[in-house]
Amino acid sequence: MISDQPAILEVSALSVSFRMYDKGFDQKDLKVISNLNITVHPGEVLAIVGSSGSGKSLLASAIMGLLPNNAAIKGSMHYKGQPLTPNRQKLLRGTEIAFVPQSVSYLDPLMKIGKQVDGYKKPYPTEKRRAIFRQLSLPDDIEKKYPYQLSGGMIRRVLAATALITEAELIIADEPTPGMSLDQALKALTMFREMADAGKAVILITHDIDLAFKFADRITVFYAGTTVETVSTHDFQTGAAKLHHPYSKALWRAMPQNEFESFPGFQPYAGDLPKGCLFSPRCPHKIPACEAAVPEMRTMKGGEVRCCHAT
């Protein structure tokens, strides 16, 4: 189903930094994403799981080419085998790569819903849009309403519709179901699962591991702006034994259905990253080699991991 096809998106060693004002006149560089590697194949759902402030939402902007002016990007991104240049990003945005944003602020508050989802290219795909709304259980009269008249759940589904209507090959969903119960989230995302099953690729960016478990084929763990491990969902659900990175293990143990155990320490700041492995200040197994240089991503038993110790 999945991995036999070549990857539709390959991101390697991606770094994104911002110039920001520091004290007084100084400016410093905030490295919000560093050494990020992900690959997505057609027909799969890849979940990128990380805490808030880990930079995962910026990944979506980086792929779409929508970073603000004071951002600097390094590393490479390839879509369907070809490099993803700014010009190419402009062409692919909204046509082959679609984005489901986080919040209602992405909708124009002064435009009716129907018109917004239809888009600006003629001929307007009105019939298709109506069909998608029906499939998402949205009432028919919603097309004449304004965003402020909709409930949270309806807004989510309208945002999902904006991506579904484009027939994109790659869909990036950024926290598409914040605060929804698992059942509601599953209902909202069923269409994405169906699209993945039909051969499209979906990247799901979330902090909610339960959602990733129910929905994704593979999970990439994100920490302080870098990817630390990628495993199949099945392996992650089995338990800490199948996970290799100490952070992934800590995540598993912290879940309420498991040990509900917390883990000391906190995520380092983008402006204050440690030299070497970003997890080393918190890691119980650290050795001098961890602090010297950032470990490379290594392939391991059906996944990848970025750790000096992983066996």
């Binding site: 808030s52 605060g179 309420p256």
Partner: protein, 200 residues
């Protein structure tokens, strides 16, 4: 001590449908009750009524048979889902802690609040870090009842575990009444003695 809502009904506007109709709820000190339901069933509204942020259109909310105090530090504290909205964006974070009246090192270290964060502005910290400040503020205010409205829904599991473990320890020590509003069944099971499903 006992916190009760008797036949409370509430709607945001005369033209809107009722969010809550004749709902009853009671909690005593030392109890931990989870209010479970998907979004849209009025859990947050009930939480705000119990804490005195909203007044019911009919019915009463009583603390030990008396109406909730309107002046002074409220013995019923509510922690909201979005910490960015509950903190003044122009304040440095040490002021947020000072606002509650007392400072307790054990609460701060239990929640993992770093000294370096105290001098920062809210925009410089993540949601998880900010929520720790909101929880600290509520705990250190000396409340008898703590209502947690989806406080860890937007947070990753490790931060969630850390915050809840601290709250549970404090609730045990002070015999606080704890109301946990959530849609996460596993969390409710782990934290509460009793689960109230208000979607039925």
């Amino acid at each position: 001590m006992r916190l009760e809502a008797n036949k409370v009904s509430f709607r945001y506007d005369k033209k809107q449908p009722w969010v809550l109709e004749e709902k009853n709820f009671a909690i005593s000190s030392g109890e931990k009750i989870a209010i479970l339901a998907p979004s849209g069933y009025g859990k947050s509204t009930l939480a705000m009524l119990l804490a005195g942020y909203l007044q019911p259109d009919s019915g009463t909310v009583r603390l030990n048979e008396e109406p909730l105090p309107t002046k002074g530090v409220s013995p019923v504290q509510l922690i909201f889902q979005h910490p960015e909205k509950a903190i003044n964006p122009r304040w440095r974070l040490h002021r947020v802690l000072a606002e509650c009246g007392s400072l307790r090192e054990d609460v701060l270290s239990g929640l993992g609040i770093q000294k370096a964060w105290l001098d920062r502005f809210p925009i410089e910290l993540s949601g998880g870090e900010l929520q720790r400040f909101c929880v600290a503020r509520a705990l250190m205010s000396g409340a008898d009842f703590l209502i947690c409205d989806e406080i860890s829904t937007m947070l990753d599991v490790i931060t969630q575990a850390q915050i809840w473990n601290t709250i549970l320890a404090e609730a045990r020590n002070r015999n606080m009444g704890l109301i946990i509003v959530t849609h996460n069944y596993e969390l409710a099971r782990k934290v509460a003695d009793r689960i109230l499903d208000i979607s039925r």
